[in-house]
């Protein structure tokens, strides 16, 4: 499998069921800034990674960790073996800056591994920045189907844990309990352990839980990617509803048509850097071109060709 195969799992889907997402595209009415991202860097520490090998394969945002103080012992050990003290760092977000305003719906696009989800989580404040800063008004919340709950417990307990973790009071959780169960459409399965759920049921319940609270800034991570057509329509309606109250939303999705239908502004992230920021049509047109070019290169046997040429251009250009 080539590198480009791995990276190009992007849903171009011009034939995406548009009826699920119909309705007028939101119109931007930019107001006051509600979110300022200032030169954000996110660095993950990865244990057991073999930085030298990965870096040699051309991923220039992975490098060996330079611990501030490396003892003689540590250096001896790491020079002799990749299995002891093998710590590498993944520089997932490399200096991103932007300002989001009240009323904007911002889509974040990029190929797999470009740092979209990390950026979203960092903007929500869930992953502390390595350097730089994120400034927000109010409390942003992440709405997603990936919110990790406790699979060994029943859906009922998970609704409680999720609701309370979102900051709801026990009374509010009780009030919204039935609503969550209805929305997730899981019926009596709510009393069974979540690990017995089908993946669709689990995703629906997680989405229902995470949308139980209405935040000031809403972050959506691939929420529309799961579920059948009926659930997609329902979650679109729910997001619209939340958006009316939330004011500002961020959406990460592989489905270009979802971004097109929901967003007024698009950020294109590539290898942890912001390469384009502008109106939906303008950015998505360029992004489509980019993805198509890669597809063609792939299928016409130039698979390996993404390598050196493209990579030379991707060299970190310090912002």
């Amino acid at each position: 499998m080539t590198e480009s195969d791995l990276h190009l799992d992007v849903d171009l889907d011009e034939d995406f069921e548009p009826e699920d997402l119909e309705g007028p595209r939101p119109v931007a009415t930019p107001g006051d800034p509600v979110l300022v991202v200032d030169d954000l860097h996110i660095v993950y520490r990865v244990f057991g990674g073999k930085a030298k090998q990965v870096a040699a394969k051309g991923a220039d945002n992975v490098h060996e960790a330079k611990a501030p103080k490396r003892s003689l012992l540590r250096r001896l050990v790491s020079s002799t073996s990749q299995h002891v003290g093998a710590v590498s760092e993944v520089h997932a977000v490399r200096g991103i800056s932007f300002v989001a305003r009240h009323g904007e719906s911002i889509g974040i696009v990029g190929i797999n591994g470009s740092g979209k989800s990390t950026l979203l989580r960092a903007v929500t404040g869930l992953i502390p920045p390595h350097s730089g800063g994120v400034y927000v008004a109010g409390e942003p919340a992440l709405l997603g189907v990936n919110a990790a709950l406790m699979p060994q417990l029943s859906g009922e307990r998970n609704i409680w844990i999720g609701g309370l973790a979102l900051g709801l009071t026990p009374k509010q959780v009780e009030e919204r309990f039935d609503e969550v169960v209805d929305f997730a459409d899981i019926g009596d399965f709510v009393y069974m352990p979540m690990k017995t759920y089908s993946s669709g049921m689990g995703a629906r319940l997680r989405f229902a839980i995470s949308s139980a609270a209405t935040p000031d800034i809403l972050m959506i991570d691939e929420a529309l990617a799961t579920g059948d057509a009926a659930f997609k329509a329902r979650s679109k309606a729910r997001i619209d509803e939340v958006r009316k109250n939330a004011g500002t939303i961020f959406l990460v999705s592989h489905s270009i048509s979802t971004v097109e239908a929901m967003c007024t502004r698009v950020l294109w992230v590539h290898q942890g850097q912001l390469v384009m920021d502008g109106g939906t049509e303008e950015v998505l047109a360029e992004y489509r071109k980019f993805v198509r070019a890669h597809r063609q290169a792939n299928s016409s046997g130039r698979a390996g060709g993404v390598g050196p040429r493209a990579r030379r251009k991707k060299k970190p250009q310090q912002v």
């Binding site: 520490r45 800056s97 932007f98 730089g132 800063g133 008004a137 919110a147 502008g278 049509e281 912002v319």
Partner: protein, 332 residues
């Protein structure tokens, strides 16, 4: 319909389609048209708060306190889920400590006779193992509370101190039924011919008090190990050995202070007080003094003072240590 990134600045050339560009390469990264200080000033102008920074201690304490319902639900749910996957279910919460105590009673009490000088070694070892188990499990649970909940941390906002607290609460919920069994074993052991009688006295009412202090102490220690292991995962491997050292050094299964007498004079002067007044030793002393009538464990109010002191110190120091790392959890 490009949306301005910054106030008053022209969109500039960023994002403009470049016909000459290789279609396989993405556009060059945007150079922002505002400086870092301008952006920070903008954030300040509109009263935006910085994310991912540690809140002040007072606010943090209020945040944690307001999440008490979350702590309780998470704690009981964790406790429940632990014993869910077997036929006997929640019964294991009681059976486990009993089996644990049985092993030590058989080996150290009956076979090795290590508890010489104690009138009822079954009661002695049972109290020791039940209470030490609570401490041991709190440390283990605390050490994993951050590392194993990375997904939860990266998905939801809440003060991270909730996690170690909930872990210890979860152990407390399983400890309560186990303590009833412990008391029953202690009483019944007195009926055996070779073991001294144990009487129920007014001092048994003090048991919830020492358990509460131990709970506070355990939570404090859980805070410390939670941060240590979150930052340096390697320490997780060391904790088991340290705990075993603490177990043998605290007189959990034999009266360690008796063995000090065999040491040379100089060592005795140092080791004696340390072994006597170190926290686990103190908690076990108090528990044994209120539940049994061992002559070597008379009631001693000063030991209560020591226990309360250790609990408060561990909790306050642990909480502050944990809070100081707040902004780092979830990054690694």
């Amino acid at each position: 319909m490009s949306t301005d990134t910054t106030t008053g600045a022209a969109p500039g050339d960023r994002g403009s389609p470049d016909a000459e560009r290789d279609p396989l390469a993405p556009p060059a990264p945007i150079v922002p048209d505002t400086s870092s200080s301008e952006r920070r000033a903008l954030a300040e102008q509109f009263g935006l708060q910085q994310m991912g920074v540690r809140p002040p201690l007072g606010k943090y304490i209020r945040d944690v306190a307001s999440r008490w319902a979350f702590i309780r639900v998470l704690g009981t749910a964790t406790a429940y889920s632990k014993n869910q996957n077997n036929y006997l279910g929640q019964l294991w919460a009681v059976l486990n400590p009993i089996l644990n105590a049985t092993v030590y009673v058989l080996i150290f009490g009956v076979l090795l006779q290590a508890s010489r000088g104690v009138e009822n070694s079954i009661a002695f070892i049972t109290i020791g193992t039940f209470l030490f188990r609570f401490f041991e499990q709190s440390v283990h649970a605390g050490s994993r509370s951050i590392a194993q909940k990375t997904n939860l941390i990266r998905s939801l906002h809440f003060p991270r101190a909730v996690l170690p607290i909930a872990q210890v609460v979860s152990l407390l919920t399983t400890l309560v039924p186990a303590l009833l069994v412990m008391c029953a074993i202690v009483l019944l052991s007195g009926l055996l011919p070779k073991y001294a009688m144990v009487h129920v006295t007014w001092s048994w009412l003090l048991l919830p008090g020492i358990i509460a202090l131990l709970w506070v102490f355990n939570t404090g220690v859980a805070f410390i190990v939670a941060r240590a292991v979150a930052i340096t995962p390697d320490l997780d491997n060391v904790i088991g050995f340290v705990l075993r050292l603490v177990m043998y050094g605290s007189g959990v299964i034999f009266p360690v202070t008796h063995y000090v007498d065999n040491l040379p004079e100089g060592v005795q002067a140092i080791a004696g007080p340390i072994l006597e007044y170190q926290p686990i030793g103190v908690f076990l002393y108090v528990a044994r003094s209120i539940l049994t009538q061992e002559p070597s464990f008379p009631q001693d109010p000063w030991m209560w003072v020591w226990a309360a002191g250790w609990a408060v110190v561990a909790f306050v120091v642990g909480f502050i240590i944990f809070w100081r790392g707040e902004e780092r959890y979830g990054r690694d």
